[in-house]
């Protein structure tokens, strides 16, 4: 019933509970409400000199004896003290929500429930309201409005966090990793948002818990659950580019069992930023998601949950191929599918021990066909299918109120079969992790963790992390964390076997490079080996060491400020390098650990509640991301540039703009206003992305020329929404209202207008 952990609020709650009295009679008609007029379930009423009374989930308040003073508590709300007269006379007792998200419970940071306030690492929680106010339909549209995140466009909408790309950010759905990346990018457009309850954003390496991929950070998407209630909602959203998004949510719940079904369909005509080129920037596509979640109590001590999800996406388009014979039209057809199945069994023999057994299986596949329109003959055909299975056993032991230990053990099997790979390839891995949550004194929280990974392909890896928080005063706390992260070489880097005949090059994954070269040598095709053959195939994990430190400051009850500064030092970045020159003049490439980069910066969020119905917030992020090898070469005078007059000169450090696709400055400004008379919520957001390096133009492949930048831009977004008394929800709005679009941002279609509604069918019937 109540999960034991070190959450301070819950401890208060527990202390109060221990002296709880279960009264049989109830206060008639009296209700404890939030500022929106919704009943707050599980609030506590403390009559002076008496035991605290628990309000049930339907909001029924037990009756108590008369007392001088009455205090009303609820998690996430400011407590309220009333005199007996006030208590008796009021029918509605409205509690103020605590401002900010410090009370939000986070599960992904420590794999146990902790509030933001208690976590010594930088973490942001997006609530249902914050998700709703963006009007977004796909996950990328929610995340792009966050200070700490950028959405980049490379093989889909990828995430960038603290200057690290999508490859280094782990995406979790209800705590389980999502697989399926194209060229390293996890396409956020695969995730529909209408059934998301909240999103946790963890910055800094989390490999100490999650292993590979969690080098830059973790995003955990938590879907809705209907605890002890039933619901049936139908929604429909329409937006520019003939996009439609109907969805259905169904929840069935009683005290022991609950089931959620979610169906979502999205289709769009896509958009085109370059009409002079044949084919659209984004092709039309249709995507459907079905998700089923069943959870329940088998007994007092056993809980089980089953999660299943299926996704299917189909897109088509045209393309023109240029050749001397003349331009030819090509028809493209692409499919993506994704299936997840995660059963979980939880055993809680007593208050101190929790044992969780999780299974996770995931299938991801893509199919892409390109045919000549004239002849119907195949131009290109690519298939990719990946399977990932993980079994994990997690044990949490609450030694006492100050110490919580977690031990995890896991096993992973992964296979991939693809056109560009030889045969079916299999990876096996095992791991364990240890974590200690320690509150030595009330003002200090310390989290230490260590994870060991054992991998069949690239060896073993240890990832430690330590983070701590000190509560300087009621209003101010300081956090710091040090951690190591890594990313294992992926299938592509190990196993690719690709020959681009047209452009004239070969690419071998590290495992195949030696054989590949030997084969080419046998055929007499190798003119010259360009590297020491002994180094071929020695591919190690990419590694990072990171420090994060910051403050959470609440100068007044209406204001909160979060600041975090970080530095990530990343080594062994994997890139292709030439390994041999062939007699034809072609080059064969393979993958090597060659680059080292630094990303460092400061992230800041300020939120002020000016009035009960008016909140303003601002965010700013500064990012400096540089390639250390490029800096060395600049210092050695080895990099040159040529101006428009074809004059050559050496590149200086001052010319160097760092890594491509990173904005040095970015930020946002948001205003949330509720018009009290009509009950309409207005959310205005201005999202700024500073100029960023788009691509090399002057031939030296580094960012050092003003022409290589895409201009800064601001997206002005506005959403108006209203929830009617009967639960009907309507929304109307637009993003990028000034219609700023550039080919440098192929994921930005320009202005998008939207309208949507959600009908709570069951609520309407039951009224």
């Amino acid at each position: 019933m109540i999960r034991f952990n070190l959450n301070k609020i819950k401890l208060i709650f527990l202390l109060l509970l221990s002296e709880l009295s279960m009264a049989a009679s109830f206060e008639a008609d009296k209700r404890i409400l939030d500022s929106n007029g919704n009943i707050i379930p599980h609030a506590l009423v403390k009559l002076e000199g008496q035991k605290a009374m628990l309000v049930d989930e339907l909001g029924k308040i037990p009756q108590g004896r008369m007392a001088e003073k009455v205090t009303v508590f609820a998690m996430g709300f400011e407590s309220l003290q009333l005199s007996w007269e006030e208590w008796v006379s009021r029918e509605e007792i409205i509690l103020k929500e605590k401002s900010g998200n410090l009370q939000e419970v986070v599960v992904s940071a420590t794999r146990t429930e902790r509030s933001v306030e208690q976590l010594p690492i930088p973490v942001t929680v997006l609530t249902t309201e914050q998700i709703q106010e963006t009007g977004g339909i796909r996950l990328s549209e929610i995340l792009r409005e966050q200070t700490v995140l950028q959405i980049t466009s490379n093989h889909g909408s990828g995430l960038q966090m603290q200057g690290l790309d999508s490859d280094y950010i782990l995406i979790l759905l209800d705590g389980e990793p999502l697989i399926g990346r194209t060229a390293g990018t996890f396409d956020l457009d695969r995730i529909s948002v209408s059934n998301i309850d909240r999103i946790e954003i963890l910055r800094g390496p989390s490999s100490a818990i999650y292993g590979s991929e969690a080098m830059g950070g973790v995003i955990n998407i938590i879907t809705k659950s209907y605890q002890n209630q039933s619901d049936l909602n139908l929604g429909l959203r329409h937006r520019s580019f003939n996009s439609w998004n109907p969805y259905l949510e169904m929840g069935l719940g009683n005290r022991k069992w609950n089931t959620q079904l979610f169906l979502d369909h999205f289709q769009t005509d896509g958009f085109d930023l370059r009409s002079e080129v044949v084919g659209q920037t984004q092709n039309p596509y249709r995507a459907s998601t079905a998700q089923l979640k069943v959870s329940g109590e088998l007994s007092e001590k056993f809980k089980i949950s089953l999660f299943g999800r299926a996704y299917q996406e189909v897109s088509d388009g045209i393309l023109e191929t240029g050749s001397a014979i003349g331009a030819q039209l090509l028809d493209l057809g692409n499919q993506r599918r994704d299936i997840n199945f995660n059963p979980t069994l939880r055993f809680k023999p007593n208050a101190d021990w929790t044992i969780t057994l999780r299974g996770m299986s995931s299938w991801f596949g893509t199919l892409s066909e390109t045919n000549f329109r004239s002849s119907g003959e195949a131009f290109d055909f690519q298939e990719f299918s990946q399977f990932f299975h993980r079994t994990e056993l997690q044990t949490d032991y609450m030694a006492n109120a100050k110490n919580l230990f977690t031990l995890g053990l896991g096993q992973v099997k992964e296979t991939v079969d693809a056109t560009r790979y030889d045969a079916l390839n299999r990876f096996d891995a095992g791991y364990f992790f240890l974590q200690h949550l320690w509150d030595p004194v009330s003002k200090v929280n310390i989290v230490t963790g260590l994870r060991a990974d054992f991998h069949s392909q690239f060896g073993n890896r240890l990832s430690p992390k330590i983070s701590g928080q000190y509560q300087i005063s009621e209003k101010l706390s300081w956090q710091a964390s040090l951690g190591a992260g890594f990313k294992a070489p992926d299938f592509r880097q190990l196993l690719l076997n690709f020959n681009n005949a047209a452009a004239g090059y070969y690419v071998f994954g590290a495992n195949l490079a030696a054989d590949g070269i030997a084969r080419l040598q046998e055929q007499g095709l190798v003119a010259q080996i360009l590297i020491n053959p002994e180094t071929i195939g020695q591919l190690n994990a990419e590694t990072s060491r990171a420090i994060n430190t910051g403050f959470r400051w609440k100068p007044s009850s209406n204001t909160q400020i979060h600041i975090n500064a970080y530095r990530n030092a990343i080594d062994n970045l994997i890139e292709t390098a030439p390994i041999a020159q062939l007699v034809t003049g072609q080059i064969a490439f393979s993958y090597f650990n060659i680059r080292s980069v630094i990303t460092q910066g400061v992230e800041m969020d300020v939120q002020v509640r000016l009035l009960e119905n008016l909140t303003m917030s601002g965010g700013y992020a500064f990012l400096d991301a540089r390639d250390l090898d490029v800096l060395d070469r600049i210092d050695n005078g080895e990099i040159f540039k040529r101006n428009a007059q074809n004059q050559t000169r050496r590149v200086t450090r001052a010319d160097y703009g760092g890594l491509f696709n990173r904005s040095r400055h970015s930020g946002n400004f948001k205003v949330n206003y509720r018009e009290n008379y009509s009950g309409i919520d207005l959310a205005f957001r201005a999202i700024y992305r500073g100029r960023f390096g788009f691509g090399d133009i002057n031939g030296n492949l580094i960012l050092d020329d003003d022409r290589e930048y895409a201009p800064a831009w601001v997206s002005y977004n506005l959403t108006a929404s209203k929830t009617f008394e009967n639960g009907l929800f309507l929304e109307l709005g637009g993003t990028n209202l000034l219609n700023t679009a550039t080919p440098a941002q192929p994921n930005n279609p320009g202005r998008v207008l939207f309208i949507g509604m959600k009908i709570p069918i069951l609520k309407l019937i039951n009224r």
Binding site: A501, Q586, E638, F640, G695, N698, G699, R707
Partner: protein, 202 residues
Amino acid sequence: MKTIQKLIFTSLIAAFLISCDNAEDLGPLTPLEVTLVEDLAAPNDEIDRNTGEVIQARSFQYFSLELNELVEENENWDIAFKGTTIRVNSSKNVTAAVVSGVFEEITEVPASAKFNTDTANSFAIPTGSGNGWYNYNSATFTVTPIPGRVILVKTAADNYAKIEILSYYRGNPPVEQIDPRTTPSGYYTFQFVLQSNGTSKF
């Protein structure tokens, strides 16, 4: 425009040489002329994208640095172009080296420069992105000469020349205006300085 550039280069070299006031310098007394060659057409073979087979073979374009013109294969050519490949005339013992530096600042053949000729298995001027004279940008599909790469050639007549490739696209357009789908490629624009007195100084 191009003529003006040529004048600027010549006068720059002149200014530089005049400033070299070494009595023992047996170098040239008159400034060497910078020659600009524009739009030397050397398109690559037509290749089938699927099979990699050559649909239509094209011949190399043979260029004599001494004559500053295209010549026949059986004549005294120094370098030959086709697609992004540049050959040297191994039958006439032409050798070449690729060095890094600012074209104007290279006043002498550096001792470290390794001169090679073409063999059956290798090219004196390496092919492939980043290896020789160009970078291929896979994001924009553009071939760009690597700034600061200078090709040194010992010609069929045993003279040294330095060459800087300026563009691979017709009309030597500003790089940001190149559209790899529409701008014709395989058109070399380059500048060179030939030292015809047999010394290694430019």
